[in-house]
């Protein structure tokens, strides 16, 4: 347990020192992951809602696919994105490999199926409750999707946070497409991997505690907003 408190102490010391490099790494982690989650929500929320709301041929197949894609190994996503963005790949001319943008692309691919699959489940359950009332009111298809997404907003916040958790903790994909370049594409997880490979286990674990703290902070912020939004609705 001595080791544990030692690591905790080091984590606190790391934060208190407010080291410029650490701040930069935390900032990039947040920027990459929040942007990826934002884009994943823009795609995954409507996609999941459409699949969850309407019956169409191949719907089950789409559902199975979305659920399966939730388990995509990050390294595989990293490799695919690498092959696309590599100078000898089809999108090489964009020059995006080893940039934060490449990391955002990889994490977006990783998170979108999670957001879409969980959204489908949430929206489908809600639609079961609303379907007759909506049909009775004569709500059009687009209004229906919009209303379901809006009414499921608190559950969908949890969905987005699940995506955030997956992306912020992911190392395999961002390592391959970002290259862990100091001051350019180095994020919390790749730093942890790097320090582990240097044998600096204490520092690596301390960084892990900082990453955990970061995830807790983002979740707490989201939940605070949720609670205050709910409270505002009572006012």
């Amino acid at each position: 347990m001595d080791g544990f408190f030692g690591i905790l102490g080091e984590a606190v010391a790391l934060i208190l020192a407010w080291d410029a490099d650490l701040i930069e790494i935390i900032g990039l982690s947040l920027r990459v992951t929040l942007t990826a989650v934002g884009i994943a929500c823009l795609i995954g929320l409507p996609l999941g809602a459409l699949v969850g709301t309407f019956r169409f041929p191949g719907r089950t197949a789409v559902t199975v696919l979305l659920n399966a894609l939730m388990g995509l190994p990050p390294v595989v996503v990293g490799l695919i994105v690498y092959l696309m963005l590599s100078a000898s790949g089809p999108l090489g001319v964009l020059g995006l490999l080893y940039t934060p943008t490449a990391m955002i692309v990889a994490q977006t691919i990783l998170v979108t199926p999670i957001v879409a699959a969980l959204t489908r489940q949430v929206v489908e359950d809600l639609n079961r409750e609303y379907a007759e009332q909506f049909a009775s009111l004569g709500v059009g298809p687009l209004d229906r999707v919009a209303a379901l997404l809006w009414d499921a907003r608190y559950s969908l916040l949890t969905v987005a946070l699940a995506g955030f958790g997956r992306a912020v903790a992911e190392v395999g994909a961002v390592f391959i497409v970002g290259g862990n370049i100091n001051h350019v594409t180095r994020v919390m997880t790749t730093t942890i991997a790097l320090e582990t490979s240097k044998g600096n286990l204490q520092l690596a674990l301390a960084l892990g505690v900082v990453l955990l703290g970061l995830a807790v902070a983002v979740n707490a912020l989201a939940m605070t907003l949720r609670v205050s939004a709910q409270r505002a609705a009572y006012a």
């Binding site: 701040i23 930069e24 900032g27 990039l28 947040l30 920027r31 992951t33 929040l34 942007t35 989650v37 934002g38 590599s86 100078a87 000898s88 790949g89 090489g92 001319v93 020059g95 490999l97 080893y98 940039t99 934060p100 809006w150 907003r153 290259g179 862990n180 370049i181 100091n182 001051h183 350019v184 790097l194 582990t196 490979s197 240097k198 044998g199 600096n200 286990l201 204490q202 520092l203 983002v218 912020l221 989201a222 907003l225 949720r226 205050s228 939004a229 709910q230 505002a232 609705a233 006012a235």
Partner: protein, 278 residues
């Protein structure tokens, strides 16, 4: 109404936080090159020591992707990098011969050592004949942790086993254990399982999780580890920044660059020995 506004605000706020978080401090003039290199140079801290000197002088930022030599060479062969800086001479020469690189130059060397647990089950402590030491490890069937990742270190290790006349593929999974990962990860794993490990000296000195391990075998000429530098061929890969990359290659091979390499020390020990143009 209020709810909707607050909620939208929250979503927008989170997104804005993501976009506004401190981004990449671009090099002052935006000039940068990408170097595909190995974990040994990166993890030892050599690049942290020499690259700022180069950047101060030329204004060119150097971005390093540090992976195993095998992967570094493949990345460079895809055109994903301007300069290749690795340590596996036969593979480097093949890289140039296939037209991916312009030319290969010796830069520096360091050496490999075999580290082991204090119990020294194979009784090799203090030996200087590396193949004889490997022979004893095989005979004692003492655990040996190998990178097993096609890296420069892995290739050098396999050459030495071959020279010792031992076929380690038969023992793989038994006393010969391939971690399939980088030097640091292999050291972490190997020390935990009480295995002998062959590592480059630079990584070993800088490694923070040595435990009670110590160097058992060193000093054999066959343990020398030559680093080479290659400009990726711009005729093969149009995206290569040939001019900036060439400036870096020239600087590393220059007196100033060589002196910078020689001046890098960890715990008072020089880790890399420049030998360009030798």
């Amino acid at each position: 109404m209020m709810t909707r506004r607050l909620f939208g605000l929250a979503a927008a706020g989170l997104l804005a936080l993501g976009l506004a978080a401190p981004g990449t401090p671009a090099a002052a003039n935006g000039k940068f090159i990408l170097v595909q290199s190995t974990t040994s140079t990166q993890n030892s801290g050599l690049f942290d020591h020499i690259l700022p000197i180069f950047t101060d002088k030329t204004g060119i930022e150097v971005r390093v992707v540090a992976v195993g030599t095998g992967q570094a060479i493949k990345n460079a062969a895809n055109g994903d990098g301007d300069v290749l800086f690795v340590h596996a001479r036969p593979a480097e020469e093949k890289f140039v011969a296939e037209g991916h690189g312009v030319a290969r130059f010796d830069v520096m060397y360091n050496d490999f050592v075999i580290v082991g647990p204090p119990a020294d089950p194979a009784g090799i402590k203090g030996m200087t004949d590396v193949t004889a030491a490997l022979g004893r490890i095989a005979e004692a069937e003492a655990p040996f942790a190998s990178r097993g990742d096609d890296s420069g270190t892995n290739k050098a290790e396999l050459r030495l086993w071959k020279a010792a006349g031992i076929d380690v593929s038969e023992a793989s999974g038994g006393w010969y254990r391939e971690t399939g990962s980088g030097m640091g990860a292999t050291l972490n794993a190997g020390t935990a399982m009480g295995a002998y490990i062959m590592t480059d000296r630079a990584t070993w000195i800088a490694f923070g999780n040595k435990g009670d391990y110590a160097i058992a075998v060193e000093g054999d000429e066959r343990l020398f580890n030559q680093y080479g530098i290659i400009l990726v061929n711009p005729e093969k890969h149009a995206s290569v920044k040939a001019d900036l990359g060439q400036q870096f290659v020239d600087w590393v091979l220059s007196e100033e660059g060589q002196a910078a390499i020689a001046g890098f020390e960890v715990n008072g020990q020089q880790l890399f020995f420049p030998n360009a143009g030798g």
